[in-house]
């Protein structure tokens, strides 16, 4: 008989994840920022990076949110193909909404979510379409991964329809434009993990860039070696502008640059740029039906299955199971 993952475990784990995301800076980002602080020689931008390192420590010591703008909490749920949730997916969504509302009060988080027109605030970060819950699947496994991301929302992101004739130089220019426009005065809260989405349809282009920034870690590289080389080159390019934290003179703007692609219309080359800020808040847990829970900070979202490009999925390892 198929074992179900208990709903109570989903809700309690989700609440813990909300707290971890708000308070504990992920180690990969922290290591990246420490490297940046070691190399930074701008007076003011150096001061800013050192203050941020102190801030992460203070947040963990006091168990308080690292930033007063605690972002807009959202969820990514990955399910192994054999995973079953007690009460089904509607129950799971209910548990994630309850965990979001509960943690907003208990941590506390800032109740950022309001109606776009009437500015109604339920003081719990829950409302129409909030928190977003997105899904992914893997070919095997009876587990679910719960991933929460609390990304700041106002600056640093842009979209543009480019065309094949724009080429790599056009991509570079739009990338630089985004860094210049939102880096000044530190509106993007850099140094950031920059995510670039290339291709897909317009909405998916935005999604790819967002996921590249929030669902990949500092130091990860795209599985396509030519895209991986672009990631290195773009990181270097962003850090050669001469702009650092808060838009002050400095050499650290980009902690890492992650690029994700999707097939697009033959006539176009849509591009999006996203910046995951100095409070790159993400937390992950894997839950099994026997009640085991493992916490981590790497979403490990972009598996070979997520990046597949063939009609059918027939990996060799499937046969072994």
């Amino acid at each position: 008989m198929t074992q179900h993952i208990p709903l109570s475990l989903i809700q309690s784990t989700a609440q813990t994840l909300m707290e971890k995301a708000a308070i504990e800076i992920p180690q990969d980002y922290l290591d990246g920022l420490k490297r940046a602080a070691d190399t930074e020689d701008g007076d003011l931008s150096s001061f800013v990076l050192r203050a941020m390192l102190d801030n992460y420590e203070a947040a963990k010591e006091d168990r308080r949110a690292m930033c007063g703008d605690t972002g807009v909490p959202r969820w990514f749920v990955k399910l192994g193909n054999d995973a079953r949730v007690e009460g089904g997916m509607v129950a799971l969504e209910g548990a994630l909404r309850r965990a979001t509302a509960h943690a907003t009060n208990s941590v506390p988080l800032r109740p950022n979510r309001v109606h776009p027109l009437w500015r109604t605030d339920h003081d719990n970060n829950v409302g129409i379409g909030a928190p977003e819950i997105e899904y992914g699947f893997e070919p095997s496994g009876d587990w679910i991964d719960l991933i929460t991301v609390h990304k700041g929302g106002l600056f640093g992101t842009d979209y543009r329809m480019l065309f094949p004739s724009d080429g790599i130089q056009g991509i570079k220019r739009f990338y630089l434009d985004s860094l210049m426009a939102f880096g000044k005065r530190g509106l993007a809260c850099q140094p950031a993990i920059i995510g670039i989405g290339l291709g897909g349809s317009k909405d998916i282009c935005m999604t790819l860039g967002k996921r590249a920034s929030v669902l990949r870690t500092v130091g990860s590289r795209n599985s396509d070696p030519r895209i991986a080389a672009m990631e290195d080159e773009f990181k270097e390019l962003g850090n050669s502008i001469g702009m650092g934290a808060m838009g002050f003179v400095g050499k650290n703007m980009v902690i890492d640059c992650n690029i994700e692609v999707g097939y697009c219309h033959t006539g176009g080359m849509p591009m999006s740029v996203h910046a995951f800020c100095l409070s790159s808040r993400r937390a992950v847990a894997r839950l099994w039906p026997d009640g085991r829970v493992e916490y981590r900070t790497d979403p490990d979202w972009f598996t070979p299955y997520q990046r597949r490009e063939t009609v059918d999925w027939e990996p060799v390892q499937e046969a072994a199971e």
């Binding site: 007076d43 001061f47 801030n55 220019r173 630089l176």
Partner: protein
Amino acid sequence: MKPREIRLSTTPTPEAIAELRLGDIVYLDGLMYTAREGVYMRALEEKANIPMELPSESAANFHCSPAARINADGSFDMGAVTATASFRFAKWLPEWMAKTGAKLIIGKGGMSSRDYKEYFVPNGAVYLSTVGYGTGALLGRGVENVEAVHWNEELGLAQAMWVIRCNKMGPFIVASDLNGDCLFERENAKIAENIARVYEGTKPAVLKRYGETDDRSDEVI
């Protein structure tokens, strides 16, 4: 060179403000209140009475919504505190400063030197920027007490007027002075020298946009 560190009252004397130099690091003591679009609209457009004695109680306006809660017994818990971008509030600030005598405007990213010259300097006021952004936990440690929260029912937790007692709250960076000079514009000008080299080899997008500029020394705010 290490920036200068200064303790400053939230009801500062004119002399203390005149002392401040661009790039100084400031720590605040005294009462501070949060006010952003919700408070400005309610006080200035709906003409509601401001529930504090300003500027005698506080001359420090923080563009902030804290990560905080109101407990069932009416007490408050404030976790992290950081600022929101101030340029969006230029519409209300001249009237707000005239009405409340605010001398310290505290937020994210500063205003333009035009704003500073037009209504900060005549009011003897300067802009302090939060650091990072943002050092929410460090600033939270500087909150000695939450004295009150006003207009919570009308505006919600995020837009309400929080009254905070600060004890060495910081760090903040002095981003404008009594000449009306702007720290961020000074930094922009230094960075601008390098722009042409970084953009070398790139070309404008095939499909243009309305209002597009190719002058990268421009800002978008």
